[in-house]
Amino acid sequence: MMQAIKIQGTDDTPKVILDPNPENPVFEISGRSLPEDVVAFYEPILEWLDEYAQDPLEKTIFNFKLEYFNTASSKLLLDILLKLEDMYDDQKDVLVRWHFPEDDEDMEEAGEEYADIVEVPFEQVRYTLD
């Protein structure tokens, strides 16, 4: 089984969990994304997904729960979604869940936009801030 990726979130980088443990798989990117070097931050994640795509779980549910991301991050997020799209094209069961706070229209729209661009099952999930 592949090694999981677990990255703690900071005030400028998101929390990332990519854990293919079949008992309790978690694929999640959450928090804030405005890293100093976006490519350096996301490259290992994209590479991990390439490897995972060769032998994925029966079903992959990928959660995005971002509070904020800058435009430089937006391209890298699309790169992740494109990898998931490739898996879906490859007859794998993939679902993207895009979480957004109920009062955040911009984040909701960002999800709609990505859903428009990539051909992959995409679910918008509204949540309430505590």
Binding site: E36, Y68, T71, A72, S74, K75, L78, E113
Partner: protein, 193 residues
């Protein structure tokens, strides 16, 4: 000796003058220098704290935060640095945030080579002519076109500022000499929901 006293008095008066001008123009943040990632983080968190204290709508706070990040990154990545005495990887420029009853204004200024002005102007004019829907379309097209420029970003930032604020980008190029100009850009974010 006498001259030094006179000069230092003058410079103190300059400070007061500067303070009065900042107050008069409702400027609550002013900076000139290198725009590093640390500076970007410091300014955005400072402004966030102020906005929370002033109880601005969270949607307004997010927009101001976003515009600040994109504007600061524009300077950090695109200001032409070779005119500085000290070479560094981060661009430098001036950065101002002002606020009145109805809106926030985020202003940046930095030196650009004259040869880049035409392209920049065309890009900004084009963005200012587009409707919200057209901006969304252009944004999608740009991220789909993919790979980041070697400096990471560019173009996308302006489009996103325009669509998130719903306002035109206000800008000007002020000629310094035959080689370079000063590029000023202001974005406004309404404080009213």
């Amino acid at each position: 000796m006498g001259n030094i006293v006179k000069d230092s008095k003058k410079s103190l008066e300059f400070v007061y003058d500067f303070y009065v001008k900042m107050k008069r123009n409702n400027i609550n943040l002013a900076y000139e220098g290198e725009i590093t990632h640390q500076i970007t983080k410091a300014f955005t968190s400072l402004t966030e704290n102020n906005m929370m204290r002033d109880e601005d709508y969270s949607s307004v706070q997010k927009k101001v935060f976003h515009v600040m990040v994109e504007c600061l990154q524009n300077i950090s990545k695109h200001a032409d640095n070779q005119f500085n005495f000290i070479s560094s990887k981060d661009g430098r420029g001036i950065f101002l945030v002002s606020k009145d009853e109805t809106e926030y204004n985020v202003t940046t200024g930095n030196v650009v080579k004259n040869e880049k002005i035409e392209e920049l102007k065309q890009m900004l004019e084009h963005i200012n002519r587009l409707s919200r829907e057209e901006l969304n379309k252009l944004y999608k097209q740009k991220i789909r076109e993919g790979r980041l420029s070697e400096k990471g970003g560019a173009g996308l930032g302006f489009i996103d500022i325009a669509r998130k604020t719903g306002q035109k980008l206000i800008y000007s190029f002020i000629k310094i000499d035959d080689e370079k100009s000063f590029f000023v850009l202001t974005s406004s974010i309404s404080r009213v929901k």
